[in-house]
Amino acid sequence: MAKVLTRGILYLFLIIVAATCLIPFYSMIITSTHTNSDIARKLLLLPGDQFVDNYNRLKDTVNIWRGFGNTLFITVISTLINVYFAALAGYGFSKYDFKYRGVLFLVVLGTMMIPGQLGIIGFFKLVNSLNMLNTYWPLILPSIHNAFGIFLMRQFADSSVPTEIIESGRMDGYGELQIFNRIVLPIMAPALATLGIFAFIGKWNDFLTPMIVLFDNNLQTLPVMIASLKSQFTSDFGAQYVGIVISVVPVLVFFSFMSKRIIDGVAAGAVKG
């Protein structure tokens, strides 16, 4: 009997925490379907029918889908660059026994300890002097250096890319880069996918850098648009909520398909780290 009671309490606890995680999202979706006067006066628990009206007011002021597309474009390109160059360097550290390899790898790991905002003012100035302000270059190009990605890729190459296959590639007359592109990259696909998911999420949520380097509203990313909703729609809560829904629901759909892979990736990364 005591055992059943303990289990019941544990389940209750798990369910309460789960509800706490989901209720804000439920509430936000429900609220986005009501009129401003209802949002201001009532506690809303059931869906209404004002979503389209709210959406139209949002769309008239903020080009939210443009922001969505911009973010998607930047994120996809950055993720590809991030993953490719992390694999390239991780493989290089794993399979080539060059001089100072150990020291250089420690340098790579050391760069992970630097807080991200330390150089942000210098970054802004650099971007300005390269005439790259208000372009996507400063958002995409830094993806070339991802120390954590190199660490993950080296682990994977050490354990799963056989040296014999590289030798046989050389026998077949492939160049070193060809061996990497044609033989090694396909073998590294599972690790590429895991790193790709993290790179994608990180870039999708990026906020400070686009906020300071982009000025043109048509180039702006979704997080920066969401951040400006409050000042643009001071008392139009319906439109604000629709904006939030557009920011959250695609991630929710993505996560419901990928959750197992994402969580396994986090667990693997943590144990290795």
Binding site: I120, G122, L126, I144, A227
Partner: protein, 290 residues
């Protein structure tokens, strides 16, 4: 073997893009920021060398100290419940009899991948004193009679910022703890049960000590991440009298709102020193326990 040695230097070509990318987009900005911190520069005219003037100003800047204090408070208020909750849930979900493990894990982890800015906006709308749902629920339940003006109170502002952080990241730490728990081999537990250890003894004397490397990982990531809080707190605002303004928010406001780039550069290095100081303390404290 001969061919292998000849090809070794190709490794440099493979790792070169990282070092070039880091030199241009990582190191150069950091060094330029250091240079700027010894200058006076408004963004238009040529920078003028002023020595340590920015750092002297920083040492006497009560706003900077306040932002350190706020950040530490929000960090403690968010991380203490977050780590306890994460560990508790990890221990529960590690039990064999629990069903729906994957569902619970996925739900707890979900807030982690939502854009922090969006979460900040959601919470600021939920706690809006006139229209927010929290006040309506509290009034409906009869807990308060008049709506509470949350963001007009220093402590509520900090607590709400802490709640967002805690709510967003406990799932991540829980996954890390579960991974740590699962890396402890079953043999250890079997040995303990043969020796007649109770559940409580097993937890205190076996599980927790073996989790120490995992704790170190979680503490260090939470110090480095927690002291750089920015996105979500920015959406919740500075609070009354700047009582919920974090260090990085102060950096952002100094450099990109007031356009005082050179003083902002000094603030950036001030934050760097504070973060390094607390990371070192954490690493030291975890080693001392050994």
């Amino acid at each position: 073997m001969g061919s292998k040695i000849n090809k070794s230097y190709y490794g440099y070509f493979f790792i070169a893009p990282f070092f070039i990318g880091f030199a241009v987009f990582g190191l150069a900005p950091i060094l330029y920021t250091l240079y700027l911190s010894f200058m006076k520069w408004d963004g238009f005219n040529a920078p003028v060398y002023v020595g340590f003037a920015n750092y002297t100003r920083l040492l006497h800047d009560s706003f900077f100290y306040q932002s350190i204090w706020n950040t530490l408070l929000i960090w403690v208020l968010s991380n203490t419940p977050q780590l306890i909750l994460a560990l508790l849930l990890a221990l529960i979900l590690n039990e064999k009899f629990i069903r729906g493990k994957h569902f619970f894990r996925a739900v707890y982890f979900f807030p982690q991948i939502i854009t922090p800015v969006t979460l900040g906006v959601i919470f600021s709308l939920m706690f809006d004193w006139q229209t927010g749902s929290i006040n309506k629920i509290l009034m409906y339940l009869g807990i308060v009679h008049d709506p509470v003006n949350w963001f007009n109170s220093p402590w509520w502002s900090r607590l709400i910022a802490s709640a967002v952080i805690c709510w967003q990241y406990f799932g991540f730490n829980m996954i890390v703890f579960i991974a740590g728990l699962q890396s402890i081999s079953n043999e250890v537990y079997e040995a303990a049960s043969i020796d007649g250890a109770t559940k409580k003894q097993t937890a205190l004397h076996i599980t927790l000590p073996l989790l120490r490397p995992v704790f170190l990982f979680v503490f260090i990531t939470s110090v480095i991440g927690g002291l750089q809080l920015f996105d979500a707190p920015l959406m919740l605002g500075d609070g009354p009298g700047n009582t919920s303004r974090t260090m990085v928010m102060y950096l952002y406001e100094t450099a990109f709102k007031n356009f005082d780039y050179s003083y902002g550069a000094a603030v950036a290095y001030g934050i760097f020193i504070v973060v390094m100081f607390f990371t070192a303390i954490t690493a030291r404290a975890s080693k001392l326990k050994d």
